[in-house]
Each structure stands twice: as C-alpha cells, then as structure tokens.
C-alpha cells in the first residue's frame, strides 16, 4: 500500500509538471502570435511611408525638415531590434507622422490628390491596427509574465528557462504633446 503511494506521488508530480509546461508553452506561443500581428502592421506602415513622402514632395517644397524627420524615424524603427527598442522607435515614428499630417493641412492641393487620400486612409487604418493589436499583445504578455513569476508555476518556468517578455509600450504622453506644440507655433 505504502509502496503504491510512494509510486503515485512522483507520477502525479510529473503529470502536474507537464500540465504547467504545456500551459506555459501555449502562453508563449500566444505572445509570439500576438507579436507577429503587430509586426505585420508595423511593416505595413514602413512600406507606406516612402509612397506617402514621394506623393507629398511634389506639393510641399519647403518642408524638407518634416520629410527628413519622418524618413529618419522610419529607418530608426526599421533598425530597432528588441521589443523595447522597437516600441520606442515606433512611437517616435508615430509622433513624426502626426506632425507631418498636421503640416499637410496647410496644403489643400495635396489634400485633394486622390493618390494621397488613399495613402492617408491606409496610414490611418494602419495606425489603428497597430493600436488595437498592441492592446492584444500586451494582454498576452501580462498573462505570460504573471504565470512565469507566480508560485508554483515559476519552478517549471525556471527549470525550462522561460524568459519574461517585454511589453510594447508607447509613450502616450510624448506622442500626445508633440502635435500640440507645433499647433502653437
């Protein structure tokens, strides 16, 4: 009898461990999947920017600085590696694009350009998609990080070397302030 119990304890432990391990893997895959959703949209935005700049250049001769700012922010965002770096570079790009769009309002001819309008719609949509998929990603990361830090699942997580994932945080304050500053100029 006692022999059976002694045998049952490790078996139960292994089953429990496998359950936790699978849950962790599922969560990590969820994070990866959510990240690829964001990544698709970020790439989409990077692809849109050259077109947008090309279209606008013909109309906006005296806005060299604005163009340069957008282009630089884009290449910074494309070079960024980790999630944290990306988040920072992308929020910089969002800010630059926001300022660019404000400048565009001074050029009614450009705003009547069908090509530009189509690009603008694509850009707006992409910004929204980034925002919405970012929310989903952060939720996933939150669940995953909770799981690998809490007892007892943290034992399994440490044994199999599950790493904490980074949030995709955009500095909302800076992004909101920036366009307002250029308004007052």
């Amino acid at each position: 009898m006692i022999g059976w119990i002694i045998l049952a304890i490790p078996v139960a432990l292994v089953i429990w461990g496998v359950g936790i391990y699978n849950a962790l893997v599922r969560l990590r895959n969820g994070v990866k999947n959510a990240w690829s959703q964001i990544d698709v949209q970020l790439k989409r935005r990077h692809d849109l920017i050259p077109n947008l700049v090309e279209t606008a250049k013909g109309y906006m001769k005296h806005e060299r600085e604005t163009f340069e700012e957008v282009t630089k922010a884009r290449s910074r965002a494309m070079d960024a590696g980790t999630v944290g770096e990306k988040a920072q570079a992308e929020s910089g790009l969002s800010g630059a694009l926001g300022r660019f769009m404000l400048v565009v309002e001074n050029y009614p001819e450009l705003q009547a350009n069908q090509n530009f309008l189509a690009l603008q719609e694509e850009l707006t949509s992409t910004e929204n998609r980034i925002a919405y998929s970012r929310q989903g990603y952060n939720d996933q990361v939150y669940f995953f990080n909770n799981k690998i830090q809490m007892f007892p699942s943290n034992i399994i997580a440490n044994t199999f070397n599950f790493q904490k994932e980074e949030f995709f945080e955009i500095e909302d304050v800076a992004q909101r302030e920036a366009p307002k500053v250029s308004f007052t100029q």
């Binding site: 109309y59 998609r129 925002a131 919405y132």
Partner: protein, 493 residues
C-alpha cells in the same frame, strides 16, 4: 473577460431555447390532441419539432445567404471601398475574431447596418450606401464596431435560434387558428367509433386551451425575443465603445442615423432586430415600448455621451445607471470584475474636415455602380461615362460632351463570360503571352507633363491623353484593361 459575456450568452441561449422549446412542444401536443384525442398529441409534437428542425437545417445551410439576398446586399472587396474594408479589418483585429467577416453594401439611401453570422468564423457585415454617404471615419468605425460586437458576443447566433423558434411557434399557431373549426365534426365521428375518445367536456376544454395557447404563445415568445434583443443592443454598444475606445464616434453616428427619415426598403419583421437601429420604427412613435427590437435611440446616445472618463464596460454600466437612475445590470458582474480601465482615444484628425456632401454622395453612387457591374469609360475629353450592364457590347457610344465615338470594350461588358473563361473575340486576338484581363488588374501610367501624351497598353494599343484629361482611370478600348493615370508631379505650386 469577453469570455464571460459569451458564456453568459450561451447560458441565456440555453434558457431561451428551453422555454421556447417547451412552448413549442405543449402547443404541438394540444393542437394534435384536439384533432385526434388518442394519438394526436404525440403526432402533434413530432410535427412541431419537425417544422423546427426543418427551419433550422435551412438556416444552418444557407440562412446567411438567403438573408443577404433578401436584403439586396452586394459583396465588396478592398478595391471598391478601402475605408469600409479597413474599418472592418481594424475591428476584426480589436475584437480578435478568428476570421475576417465578409463585407457587404446594400444599395439603399436609408442609413443602417447589420451583421449576421452563425459563428465568428463565418460572418458578414453589411452597411447601406446611405450610411457610407453620411458618416465620417470615426462614426463608421463606431457602427462597424457595434456590428462586430454582435458577432463577437454571439448575438447573431442567439437571435437566429430564437428567431427560428419564434417562427415555428407562429407558424403552428396560425395554422391551428385557421383550421380549428374543422375539429368538432371530425372528433365526434371519431368518438362514435370507439369508447376510448374521452368525455366531450374534456374535448371542449382541450380545444379552449389550444386556442388560448395558440393566441398567447406567439405573443409571449415574441416579447421574450424582443426583450433579449433590446438588452443585447446595450451590450453591443458597450462592447463597441470598448473596441474603438471612442464613444463619441458611435454616439454621433446614431444621432446622424436617427435624424434621417427614410424607410429602409430591405428590412422586414424578420431582419429588423439585426440592424443597428430599428428600421421599422416610425419617427413619431413612442420610443420606449415592449414591442420594439431596439432600445430608444436617444437613450443610447445619452449613455454614450455620459462616458467621459473611460471606454471600458464598467464606465458604460455607470453611465447607464446614471441615466436610468436605478442600477440595472446590462453587463454581467463577472464581466465587470476583471475589466480594467481603458482610456478614450483621440479623434482621427483627418475627420475634422469632411469632404463636401455632394462629392461623397457621387462617390457612393459610383461605388454602387461599380458593384452592380457598370462599366466606366473615360472619354478622351475627360468625361467619365457610366454604362449599365445592359448596354450592348461591342458597340459605339457617343460622348455627350464632345461627341467622340467611344467603343465599349467587350471584355468589360461580359464580366460573367470572362469569369467562366469563355473566349471573347477581343481577348482571342490579343497576344497569347499577355495575361487575361481581370477586373482587379490595374496598370499604372505616370504622366510626365500636362501636354498631349501617348503610351501603349499591354495589349499593344496606343492610347492618347489630351491636356484636358483629368480622369484617374483609363480603359483600354481593345482589351478593357484599366490603366491608372497618375497625375504629373507639379513643379512648385
């Protein structure tokens, strides 16, 4: 947290299902035993359930297609209305739906929208042309979010099952009420045959009960159905705000929609609960009553405008309680507990300057023509001609402005023939290595200046642009390919 709502909805569907099924079975039994006191009861139940199963099968198989057909909805892709398609896709991402809903446009001036879908994997969102004409991007997003919420919360599922149940009950009741006077002679004859018929008193009571139930059951089922429909509307509003994080979008969309007094031709009693606002409601009618599929629109707008601090479900619940003055749960408490605060986002800046109404209206009309297989031919003088699909193909049409004769390309006028791969004479004469022209294929041509320009289409035909040409799209007269004309880049201003 959304799972809570879905689970609650499932539980509700089950209850509704049980209550309505009980009604259906009792009705079947009573009606059956009135006609044949011995075995009629069981037979009545079998027939009642049979009717329900038949209707369910039809619905599951092709219900959405039938509904869309009845409403006259046409499917659109991204090329026809990028904004609508984008907005739907954004909401799909926000709601985390498994599959992209199909997007439809209904050619009606009344602004409205609806969603159908027996499962989130197979769903559709339809909006009217009138809606596209009037709403800006944020408002459109609010409406689409409301519809996607219906899909996400499985409202479409619930209402479909409820609708079928209701339909079966109404069907049986009507059939009985129209034929019960046939009963007495039949059952009397039956009684003389054997002693097992039961007393005449019992027979009378049965008939009375059956008539009573046949009258009351549809009313009761209907009220049940409507009560659920109304509550789901509030929940869909709350979820829509949570998805878009922008309550004002939906609020001002509802305001615009309700201010238009055009009757929606495509709606009827069956499809009414699916629309964003009740399409059958008359403007002067009393707003808050039990016979409505939707809650009063003014209340919905007020609740949305009360939401100044956040865009989450808890804030909506608070705003709702503030309006009604009593705490009534719209959102299940389990859904509220885990909800975290969501901040309201800012308005889309491009929306602050909407295009002129006339231009938007013309764009939407062009869109509807494109959906309905109209051909667009741009004359050399720049005038865009819109030809209905009934136009004889391979003929010539004179431009009403400059009088030039324009050939109608065969390929364009026979989209169906091209789809099934039938060789059209013009296509056959095109070079063999050229890809077959399809509707979606668009070539591009960048204009160099503002003078006369000549360029060649892929099929080899030379096309000329006049200095006055202001169109965006040119159609090759031989092969029907579309060529996108990109205006020249200006030097200076």
């Amino acid at each position: 947290m959304m799972w809570e709502l879905i689970r609650q909805n499932r539980r509700k569907s089950m209850w509704l299902f049980v209550i309505m099924a009980t009604l259906l079975v009792i009705l079947g039994y009573l009606v059956g035993s009135v006609f044949d006191p011995d075995r009629g009861g069981v037979l009545g139940i079998v027939i009642a359930v049979g009717i329900f199963l038949f209707l369910t099968l039809v619905t599951l198989h092709s219900g959405d297609e039938i509904l869309l057909k009845v409403s006259g909805a046409k499917e659109v892709g991204k090329d026809l209305h990028p904004r609508l398609y984008n907005v739907v896709e954004e909401m799909k991402i926000a709601a985390n739906l498994e599959a992209m809903p199909r997007v439809f446009i209904i050619d009606e001036p009344a602004p409205n929208a609806f969603a159908i879908g027996l499962s989130p994997k197979k769903s559709a969102v339809a909006v009217t042309a009138g809606l596209l004409e009037r709403l800006n991007r944020d408002e459109l997003q609010g409406v689409v979010a409301h519809e996607i919420s219906h899909i996400m919360n499985r409202d479409s599922q619930l209402m479909t099952v409820a609708g079928i149940m209701l339909g079966s009950i109404v069907l049986i009741s009507q059939a009985f009420l129209r034929s019960w006077w046939l009963v007495p002679s039949g059952s009397r004859r039956y009684r003389t045959k054997g002693p097992s018929g039961g007393s005449p008193q019992l027979q009378l009571v049965m008939i009375g009960l059956a008539i009573l139930l046949a009258i009351l059951a549809p009313i009761f089922a209907n009220l049940l159905y409507l009560a659920i429909s109304r509550k789901r509307e509030f929940l869909a509003d709350a979820s829509a705000v949570r998805l878009t994080r922008y309550p004002e979008g939906l609020a001002s969309a509802l305001e615009k929609i309700s201010s238009v007094d055009i009757k929606l031709e495509a709606a009827n009693k069956v499809t009414a609960p699916m629309f964003i606002i009740n399409p059958l409601m008359k403007q002067g009618a009393k707003l808050s009553d039990l016979s409505s599929t939707h809650p009063p629109i003014k209340e919905r707008i007020k609740i949305l405008r009360f939401m100044t601090r956040g865009a989450d479900l808890a804030t909506y619940q608070k705003a709702y309680s503030r309006l009604r003055g009593k705490p009534m749960a719209i959102i299940p408490p389990s859904g509220l507990r885990k909800s975290k605060r969501i901040d309201i986002r800012e308005a889309t800046p491009a929306d602050e300057a909407p295009k002129s109404n006339k231009k938007t209206a013309r764009d939407v009309m062009d869109l509807m023509r494109a959906v309905n297989d109209y051909a667009f031919i741009v004359c050399m003088c720049g005038l865009k001609m819109k030809l209905p699909p009934e136009m004889p193909s391979d003929s010539t049409i004179a431009c009403p402005r400059c009088g030039r004769g324009n050939r109608i390309p065969v390929a364009e006028m026979a989209p169906l023939a091209a789809m099934v791969g039938a060789a059209v004479s013009d296509q056959a004469s095109a070079p063999a290595d050229a890809p077959a022209p399809t509707r979606s294929r668009v070539l591009e041509y960048q204009r160099k200046g503002t003078g006369w320009e000549t360029f060649a289409c892929e099929c080899g035909r030379l096309m000329q642009l006049s200095p006055a040409f202001g169109g965006r799209l040119l159609r090759c007269r031989d092969c029907g390919r579309k060529v996108k004309i990109i205006p020249p880049q200006r030097e200076g201003k």
